[in-house]
Amino acid sequence: TLSKEQRLQQSVMESCFHHLPLPSDSERLRNYLPRNPCPTPTYHCQV
């Protein structure tokens, strides 16, 4: 059986399992900024 401390560790781990780190969290942000920004109609692809 797990000790009280181990059970607490497990519950904390279980909670953090629901918001895991993403691989992109370890990479720099790449801001794909438009070189020549221009307002385009909203029905066009925006991202």
Binding site: S3, Q9, C16, P21, D25, S26, R28
Partner: protein, 517 residues
Amino acid sequence: FDDPPGLREKTEYLLREWVNMYYSPAGGKDSTKAFSAFVNQMHQQGILKTDDLITRFFRLSIELCVDVCYRALAEQVHSQALTRAKCFQTLDAFVRLIALLVKHSGDATNPVTKINLLNKVLGIVAGVLLQDHEVRQTEFHQLAYHRIFSMLLLELNAPEQILEAINFQVMSAFCNALHVLRPSKAPGFVYAWLELISHRIFIARMLGMLPQQKGWPMYAGLLTGLFKFMTPFMRNAELPKHLALLYKGTLRVLLVLLHDFPEFLCDYHYGFCDVIPPNCIQMRNLILSAFPRNMRLPDPFTPNLKVDMLADIAHHPRILTNYVTVIQPASFKKDLDSYIKTRSPVTFLSELRSHIQVSQEPGQRYNVSLMNALVLYVGMQAINYIQSKGSTPSMSTITHSSHMDIYQNLVVDLDTEGRYLFLNAIANQLRYPNSHTHYFSCTLLYLFAEANTEAIQEQITRVLLERLIVNRPHPWGLLITFIELIRNHHFKFWSHEFVHCAPEIKKLFESVARSCM
């Protein structure tokens, strides 16, 4: 405690200023222009007056950055990607500031100030994390801290001369911080922690680039900490999802190490196997399967393979874990050395079990670390002794010695649980062709042949078989030992009752034998 009045507001103001400067085109290449201007501001605000103020500034900055993240995460207005981008905006700017402060503090030629500052900052990040973890418990989120460590790792491993000159100290600082934040201390950070220690840059530096393998002991320490944390949870047969993910992730990391740095696993196998629980057979096999890249292993299924003719069996493998210190107390070690040398005191063998059996608690009755250390120590003494006589270990040279007395005493005197752990300790040395693999292979086979009860033979078979029926990889030494056991008529393997005790067992042996033959 007791931050000077107004310091928090000053810190918040400065942090905002820095973030704006960082993203401004006028900040210059790598923010160097912005940095010069910012340092002046810090001076003006009195932040750099004392070490205490600098420390508090960092602590407050980190807390503010973390707070930004928690608030963004709580809003849940944007997509996950946009929320993260919002958090990273502040965090990445802050990390750049730290990196610049580290690079430019003190003398260009004297790294001490830089490293002291880095250690201070990493220590503060770790301290804030631990406090946050303690307070929030299940509400703890790793995002801010993971980002700070990741980006700082990238920044401080940029290919710049000033950083290359202090890379060992930089990586040591990271290792120290990661040790402080090891999973047993911050279980909510464990997934991020595993990401950090398996980051391509972290592995590259620690295992591939630091000269004279200086990073290896630190990296081994981190992995050992991970295994120690996982051990109590892995002792139970069934893994819940969150543990299964951690286990699978650890397997992936070990596979990378097996592929890219097998010598590292070879050198530290003992320490790892000392903490991995006995039921994690595949994970253990993975580590034990490692062999030096310049070695070509003979096919264990080669008919009439003469293992004792292989040149490699004369070479001693490196064991870089200090296992001898585990043989305690000092009086026991003294008696052990005395028995090995002179077969006295005569009571040594009968008292041996009492040193290894430490409690009556089920699952914790034996000091497994002591058992492992004892087995390896006695074995190494035996190998040295045999080689000093100009011989090599074989079924004839390993017998009639104080070393074999110890092994035979243990295999007879221990109960089934103790015997299982003892045999595991021997089987943990069955690896690539080397003197230890050969000696312990002979020892296991000798104990089988000379067993005075079928129960001993059954358990030897059990220990070997359970390591063979798991999915690959399988250590070379394990294969050749088992093949020898079933092939050599001397051991009369197929005549034993336990081979036929159940249809599944019989089928299993026949299947394994077919693939071996």
